[in-house]
């Protein structure tokens, strides 16, 4: 505050022992401050900034932008903000099988028989008077209507996190504001749990009522697809259909489609060479490797620009006159390889036993196998 009084922009600071404080003011109204513990290797500025963005979006999603920007009664705002806590905690505790919080891409699952699911979803959404429909399995998008994909990727990520936080309930009717698409007018997000772990949701206006949609539509459109839904559910962790065969040494991967902002992450629990990290650890390693790589090498335009403006730390990356397109890392647990093309980014985890020179061809082959699916 002292700084801005003097026309100086100060955006973050670090404590002597490596703790970090990052902040940002949104719409000249709300300032969010993120503080990380002392172990900065684990949480970097990049992550804290994404976190601030995400948390602001959570607040808009639940309360709408008017209430946040034109604050008339602070006490009331404080009380209303409690409605956001669950969603915000969802981001603070983010870990495990999804990465949308750091990638800002939509976590997807590639199903077998996508066409049938897509048809059912389109018909179901239409019957529910909505153009925005989405089918999720284990919290990952399996199919979505065209309009749903036209929402901003961050919004889709946010909605997915929201749906995940609703947990095991049967149906929900949740008022939401879309941070970019509709920050002042709420929509209704209806969600139906078809099978435990398989949910369908639609964004709609005043009708249909939750009850009517459940009774009249859910069974009619989805009962015929139960078998396929069960097959999708069985893809947990794997997230790829059985028809996609990967090299036996791939422990886990993250594939990002840079154009559509969609991502598939997959951990292959069936692949278990001696000494390989556990499934939970692989998810963690994928996340860490992604953050490390994006921070150092695959600096995204948006981030790079902000860093030029705001950060003095990532000199290494800024020092490059070109964009690196491949990188690898060898740790005690495993070997990692990152690869980017204009359309895709691929991050691979492989066992320590794979010779380092074999990483690159293996990654290239994996990428072509995956892109052949049309993702």
């Amino acid at each position: 505050m002292f700084g801005s009084g003097q026309d100086v922009l100060l955006s973050s600071c670090e404590t002597e022992r490596g703790g970090r404080v990052v902040w940002r003011v949104f719409h000249d109204s709300v300032m969010l401050i993120a503080v990380s513990g002392q172990d900065t290797e684990a949480v970097c500025e990049f992550q804290l900034r994404r976190l601030l963005d995400n948390i602001w979006n959570c607040m808009v999603l639940i309360l709408g932008i008017d209430e946040l920007v034109n604050v008339r009664n602070v006490e009331r705002l404080k009380r209303d903000l409690r409605l956001c806590y669950q969603l915000i905690d969802g981001f603070l505790e983010a870990s495990g099988e999804w990465m949308g919080d750091v990638t800002h891409c939509v976590d997807c699952l590639l199903p077998p028989q996508l066409v049938l699911l897509q048809e059912a979803l389109d018909a179901f959404s239409h019957a529910a008077e909505s153009e925005f429909g989405c089918l999720l399995v284990h919290g990952k998008v399996v199919a979505a209507t065209e309009k749903w994909w036209r929402l901003a990727p961050q919004e889709v990520v946010l909605l997915t996190v929201l749906l995940r936080s609703l947990g095991g309930t049967a149906c929900c009717d949740q008022p939401v504001f879309l941070p970019q698409g509709s920050p002042t007018v709420p929509h209704r997000l209806l969600r139906f749990q078809l099978l435990p772990g398989a949910d369908v949701c639609v964004l709609c206006g005043p009708s249909p009522s939750l009850q009517r949609a459940e009774i009249e539509l859910v069974g009619r459109f989805w009962r015929p697809l139960m078998e396929i839904l069960w097959t999708c559910l069985a893809l947990k962790d794997h997230c790829l259909p059985g028809s996609v065969t990967l090299h036996k040494d791939v422990l886990g991967l993250l594939l990002i489609n840079r154009e559509s902002s969609r991502a598939i992450s997959s951990v292959r629990s069936a692949v278990n060479p001696p000494g390989a990290p556990s499934v939970a650890r692989r998810w963690e390693l994928l996340r860490l490797f992604f953050i490390f790589t994006v921070k150092r090498y695959f600096v995204q335009d948006e981030v790079a620009q902000r860093q030029k403006r705001e950060s003095l730390q990532e000199e290494f990356a800024l020092g490059f006159s070109h964009q690196p397109i491949q990188c690898y890392m060898v740790t005690e647990e495993c070997k990692c390889f990152g690869l980017q093309t204009p359309h895709y980014q691929l991050y691979l985890l492989m066992p320590f036993s794979v010779p380092t020179f074999a990483l690159r061809p293996l990654a290239a082959r994996t990428l072509s196998t995956l892109t052949a699916t049309g993702f």
């Binding site: 009380r79 095991g168 309930t169 149906c171 009717d173 005043p206 459940e214």
Partner: protein
């Protein structure tokens, strides 16, 4: 099961049939295996085609009561007069309750699923919508989770919008010996959300069959507030089952509401009061009293509506016997 076809009052039969058809259209009554249902010979149903056919089936469920029982119910409902309240402990119930479990935990059912019984046993399912009402942090979300055998939330996160939870509960009817699956859908809406968005309350109350009014044993104000809650929760057409649930009963050290107060409320309003609290250990015993009573009251209410019997106010205090969890 039917030794005698429904004789006599065709008008009443017709009314009952159209009632069941309506509920069927609303999706309230599911019929798992219509073919195995007993048919009742009634002249009127031939003209009515498919719907009549179906109504005939459901009449089997609706009108299988000896008249004395109906008369008795019209006056007041004695707990345990329609259903076997301790049935979940019996050997016969095991077959049914085992379908609700998976690896010693409560099985979760998606909307497309229902408990699957072996083909030799045919069980009908009846659907009811139950709205959980009460102020913020009173324990609505916790109660829904408790009844569904899910982990109860440790922290209080305000519920945003409406969340519904499905609970299957098998019940053995006293007079016919038939077993039914009650499928309760509990509607839980965060109180602060309810205030922010006008459309939520009407949606919760749309076609509801029962309403649970919650108060907390450690918050006296929530108990005092009950009567205005009840006034707000139920409208003019009052054929809705009402039950009061006191939450956080495990924190009796801090209790703010005395037994005497609860007793006199019960006597004055004729609404049964239940007590819940503590950790969920997963046994059926902890949810049975409330679910059985709900099932019984709802069944009773449907019988009254189907039979076009004017519901009479139950004699005071008598329903209070249901209390005690």
């Amino acid at each position: 099961m039917f030794s005698e076809p429904l004789g006599g009052d065709v008008e009443q039969t017709r009314a009952a049939a159209s009632y069941w058809i309506r509920r069927r259209k609303q999706g309230r009554v599911l019929c798992q295996n219509e073919a195995t249902l007993i048919s009742v010979k009634c002249g009127w149903n031939r003209e009515q085609g498919g719907a009549g056919e179906w109504a005939r089936c459901m009449l089997g469920a609706a009108c299988s009561w000896p008249p004395t029982c109906c008369e008795l119910m019209a006056r007041s409902l004695r707990p345990g007069s329609l259903v076997h309240v301790d049935w979940h402990r019996s050997a016969e119930a095991k077959e049914f309750f085992s379908r609700l479990q998976h690896k010693k935990k409560r099985r979760k059912f998606g909307l497309l699923e229902a408990p699957v019984m072996p083909p030799s046993i045919s069980v009908d399912t009846v659907n009811y919508k139950v709205f959980i009402s009460g102020k913020s942090a009173v324990g609505k979300t916790t109660l829904a989770a408790r009844l569904a055998g899910l982990d109860v939330p440790r922290m209080h996160y305000e519920t945003t919008g409406i969340e519904t939870t499905v609970v299957f509960w098998p019940v053995k009817l006293r007079d016919s010996g038939r077993v039914l699956f009650f499928r309760f859908q509990f509607w839980d809406c965060g109180e602060n959300s309810l205030r922010r968005f006008d459309h939520l309350l009407p949606s919760c109350k749309e076609q509801m069959d029962a309403i649970l009014f919650l108060f907390s044993f450690i918050d006296h104000a929530s108990f005092v507030d009950l009567s205005s809650q009840i006034a707000r929760g139920t409208g003019a057409s009052d054929n809705i089952v009402k039950v009061v649930v006191g939450t956080k009963f495990d924190l009796f050290m801090h209790t703010d509401v005395t037994e005497e107060e609860v007793r006199s409320f019960q006597a004055a309003s004729g609404i049964p009061v239940f007590r819940v609290g503590g950790d969920v250990c997963g046994g059926w015993g902890e949810v049975a009293p409330l679910l059985n009573a709900l099932a019984e009251l709802l069944w009773h209410q449907d019988r009254l509506a189907a039979g076009k019997m004017p519901p009479q106010p139950s004699s005071r205090g008598e329903t209070g016997d249901l209390a005690g969890c």
